[in-house]
Symmetry: C2
Subunit: 330 residues, 2 copies
């Protein structure tokens, strides 16, 4: 990972560029019609009838959420897709986003161009456009603050608070892939036979899965903070407890982190969800039609006093103790 890419490379530092130049050169080409060419005070959108709006905001800072020196295309993808993953967890389709950029003055224009190119590629990939935003030049780490907007048919949004005792618990994909990818990135290795590198540098928000889960799942969440912590959030919001089977966790057998670290690490954009047992065959059919691994990993139970929201059980039914259950972003 070329850590100095875009820095001090003899190019124009962005401090030499005014705010309006930055908008005109790099951001306006990304704007959709709602953005009014980024030339007005605000974006304007006529909502289609019969839909609810879903809105989310995730901030990513260099040195905290992505490594110091993170290349601009990885930064852009993780910043935008972490928001799309939140939309997916509600069953919503992405529509547009507002972009807040806090950029240090020494950053050069090559960085900004590459960052915007990566956003543009993702806009095409996911069918959304830039509606507005703000960019400021501040001495501090690069910070990206995105607000994403999506649509979901009225009244059908997935939420965290609908899990019922007796429901199955599922998760998509392999867990701990992004953490393994970050681990490899930190070691400057780019081996990707197991999809780890891709899982970190280009995580796939599960938009089609979220869409298909509307009317099937009783609760859903994206597991960006770690599987155990995020399943715990479903349990807390739904006022139930959830038991997960350690043995059923979809952790890649060659994952260098080991199963316990994998299921408590953050940065995966998979979906965890609950569904009643009578939907089980539908869920597995869905897995085939989407070409996406969906694994049954646990069961929703009634909450009991003094019990953790989410417990991971070994094959003998004993609760596994973890050093930490999830990642808090500080």
């Amino acid at each position: 990972m070329p850590r100095t890419f875009g820095r001090n490379a003899g190019q124009d530092p962005i401090a030499h560029m005014g705010e309006f130049d930055r908008i005109a050169r790099y951001l306006a080409p990304l704007a959709g019609p709602e953005g009014l060419c980024l030339a007005d005070d605000a974006a304007l959108h006529t909502p289609p009838p019969g839909f609810d709006f879903v809105m989310t905001k995730d901030m990513l800072a260099e040195g905290v959420h992505v490594p110091t020196g993170c290349v601009p295309d990885i930064f852009a993808r993780r910043a935008l897709r972490s928001n799309l993953s939140d939309l997916a967890a509600m069953g919503a389709k992405p529509l547009g986003y507002l972009l807040g950029l806090s950029l240090p003055p020494h950053l050069d224009d090559i960085w900004l161009q590459a960052f915007c190119n990566a956003l543009g590629a993702d806009q095409l990939r996911y069918g959304l456009s830039l509606w507005g935003g703000d960019s400021i030049c501040v001495d501090g780490p690069i910070t990206v603050s995105i607000t994403a907007l999506g649509l979901v048919p009225a009244g059908t949004a997935l939420r965290r608070d609908g899990a019922q005792p007796g429901d199955d618990v599922f998760v998509s994909g392999f867990i701990g892939q992004a953490a393994a990818g970050l681990h490899l990135l930190n070691e400057d290795a780019e081996e990707d036979a197991c999809g780890w590198h891709t899982a970190y540098v280009a995580p796939e928000p599960r938009i089609s899965l979220g869409d298909a889960l509307r009317g099937r799942a009783t609760a859903a969440i994206d597991v960006s903070d770690g599987l155990v912590a995020d399943v715990g959030h479903i349990a807390t919001a739904s006022k139930v407890s959830i038991a997960l089977a350690l043995n059923d966790m979809p952790v890649h057998p060659q994952n260098p982190l080991g199963i316990e670290d994998a299921i408590t690490a953050g940065d995966d954009y998979e979906l965890a969800f609950t569904a009643p047992p009578e939907k089980r065959s539908e869920i597995f059919t869905l897995s085939e039609s989407l070409g996406l691994r969906l694994t049954k990993i646990g069961q929703v139970r009634a909450a009991a006093a003094g019990q953790e929201p989410c417990t991971v059980l070994d094959t003998l039914g004993n609760a596994v103790a973890f050093k930490k259950t999830g990642w808090q972003h500080g």
Copy 2:
């Protein structure tokens, strides 16, 4: 202005607090029903029929947009109200907002509490609620990134691109008030006989004016970047030129900055707008009913090649030259 308020005052630094604690203690009490108690992946809103959505994002950083050591209530008000001012410029009524906070680890919880209290007071004042957001702990200046959402009856939003040759140009309030207030603040004086202090620490977004201008004004903008620059943005977007009369500028006679600095300084949240001459009496009636000074300051003209979008004329019709026409936020 007590510059060390909330810093190193022996209280709990926010770094000792996890993200979920911050949300539960300080932010969740601000959440409206759309925010789902800030306990879900995203906010959910059913748009009322017959309205357009207006969305805007403004970022404020300590040391750039507010002075280093700015007290939390001023920071909160300026951050939220700068967005409400953008909504007002489109004629929209505020509905909700998403809050992005980047906070340095040494900041203590008293600061955060005071900041959230000020947001809560403004939520009541302007009838909006917190829908969601993100807060991160990063070594850098305090940065607030707000996305505000508003509603406007479908098809009636004010824009910048509708000014027509022959239209009058108006501006609300006095110009250069906030800059005078900031000047006084920097001198640790808090004299406010002329409203300067209030104009900086609690600027009033012109929401009722924006609402009343729908159907009357042909173009509008808020003058947060400086009157001359912002009127220039209307001219550019509308493909016209605009002449302003230096002598007609509503600058308070005691403003210590002088007229030229006042009309090129930023930070006022007044509205500049254009309207056809046949609306002139309606505009002045509006001024009376809102109890808000509205001054006719210029005229829209056809664009001519090589001409500046906005020219300020002295009493002899000569163009005034400025050191700078407006404030770029870097």
